[in-house]
């Protein structure tokens, strides 16, 4: 029986520790998942579904649960991806889709038949209109998700680039890319004959 002493001692110790940890785990129990809230706050909220989830919140939940990688938010771009990777503590992954210029949807009103299908598709309720009436998109609220293009039976919705505003103009990063932009801008002003 001598040889069983160590086994007993070890078992008792393990039991004590196990009970202690069980108590501790009850005391320090974490409610909910604050991570997914943090991720959701980073997402652009376009609700575009390009990530394969029906909106931003579901994607945030999926990322927080490690079900999906961090690089599926196309409108958020690299900056969002890096921020999420940072929170999740994983290596950043390149976004496969190309980053696009910011756009908003625009309805060519004379072609619109007033079918209200786009109104139903808009995730942020920014299309105004009634059956058999022209529809209009409130450009200030449009997230550029392109979800209204598909349902339109007469293809009268265009995605147009958002105009650059003087108040929103920001200095480009010092580098080479800035060269082309200014050159074209100058040319456009000369054409406009100001």
């Amino acid at each position: 029986m001598e040889f069983l002493y160590p086994v007993f001692i070890f078992a008792i110790l393990a039991l004590v520790i196990g009970v202690g940890l069980a108590l501790a785990s009850r005391y320090f129990h974490v409610e909910g998942d604050p991570l997914s809230d943090k991720i959701d706050a980073l997402l652009p909220q376009t609700q575009c579904g390009q990530c394969g989830y029906p909106g931003c919140r579901p994607y945030a939940n999926a990322v927080a649960a490690d079900e999906v990688s961090v690089n599926h938010c196309v409108p958020g771009g690299e900056r969002t991806m890096l921020a999420i990777a940072d929170i999740m503590g994983v290596e950043p992954k390149a976004i496969e889709e190309e980053e696009t210029v910011p756009v908003v949807a625009y309805i060519r009103e004379d072609e619109c038949i007033g079918c209200t299908l786009c109104i139903k598709a808009c995730p942020v309720d920014c299309i105004i209109g009634a059956p058999k009436q022209y529809h209009t998109i409130v450009a200030d609220h449009c997230t550029g998700c392109t979800l209204c293009l598909e349902p339109c039976p007469v293809d009268c919705i265009d995605m147009v680039e958002t105009p650059e505003l003087l108040e929103h103009w920001a200095w480009p990063v010092p580098g080479t890319k800035r060269a082309i932009k200014a050159e074209t801008r100058k040319a456009s002003h000369e054409d406009a004959d100001v």
């Binding site: 200095w171 480009p172 010092p174 800035r178 060269a179 932009k181 200014a182 100058k186």
Partner: protein
Amino acid sequence: MIFLSSPHQHGGNTIQLTMFSVIIALIPAAMVSVYLYGWLAVFLLTTCIGISLLTEYWMLRWMGKPTKPVWDGSAGLTGLLLALTLPAAVPWWMAIFAAVFAIILGKQLYGGLGHNPFNPALAARVVLLISFPLHMTSWIVPMHMDATLNMYDFVTSLQFFFLGPDAVKQTWDAITMASPLGYLKTELGQGVTVSQALVNYNYSTLHAFIGREAGSLGEGSALALLMGGIWLMARHTISWHIPISYIATVAMFAWVFNMINPDVYAPPLFHVLAGGLILCAFFMATDPVSSPSSSIGKIVFGIGCGVLTWVIRTYGNYPEGAMFAVVLMNMVTPLIDYYVRPRVYGYKRGKKA
């Protein structure tokens, strides 16, 4: 037309100007080394500088970068500083190894100028000291001390440099002596008092100041180094913060402990003039890349160097702590930059936005 932000005027300072000012400021010290060790110093200086430049050139070519930065003076300065921290007894291969190490591992692998976390010359010197302690702690007797020593003419020096002491029919013991710091450390270990040890060594403060004691090439003359250093400060190439706080800290520690027990702790003047302290304080610790950016950070850096130098000199295994102190503080630099910031206009100290 490109987007160019103001200001549209520039003061005219360049990296090249900065680097070459430091090189010019080191010329008096280099000349003193030639005076002390003759051709040996010349060989060492040319080898280190030449190999540094060559290595820089080859690294840049190998990495497919433009080779213009070779001439910005930083590689040459690294070579020069490296040579000035080496003892005259260092053979050719060791000098080459150190120069290659300094440029490749110390600088180019980190992305070149501006990105090295450690001072390249000091990093190489630390590697040598740990790898080859015998060579790195044997100091050739300066020329003026023993005129009978047949060591300093061109041919003998060349033979010694390439083939070692045997080739010139000398032994290490005959041609080398201890530096004041090393001698003091050994004597103190045997229970001799500081003052007695200094008398035994025939130490003279004046000699240490104008440059007649044994040591590394550039350590010899405090006077020559001070001339260069003060010129750099006057030119605003280096700021006063690091050298002054560094030397003052060492002096203060030495003074306080010397007051407590003069038998065990060396006097402040000895600490300041002996070894590589002045060289390190003015030319190594002030290396802009591996030292903090802000003035207040520089003072913290200098104090840190001072404390470490004194502690390592007094308690450590190595008689000279200045080099280690600077490399150790280089590691702390990013943290100093992060935590020790100047007070921003309109804020109370220590308060952030």
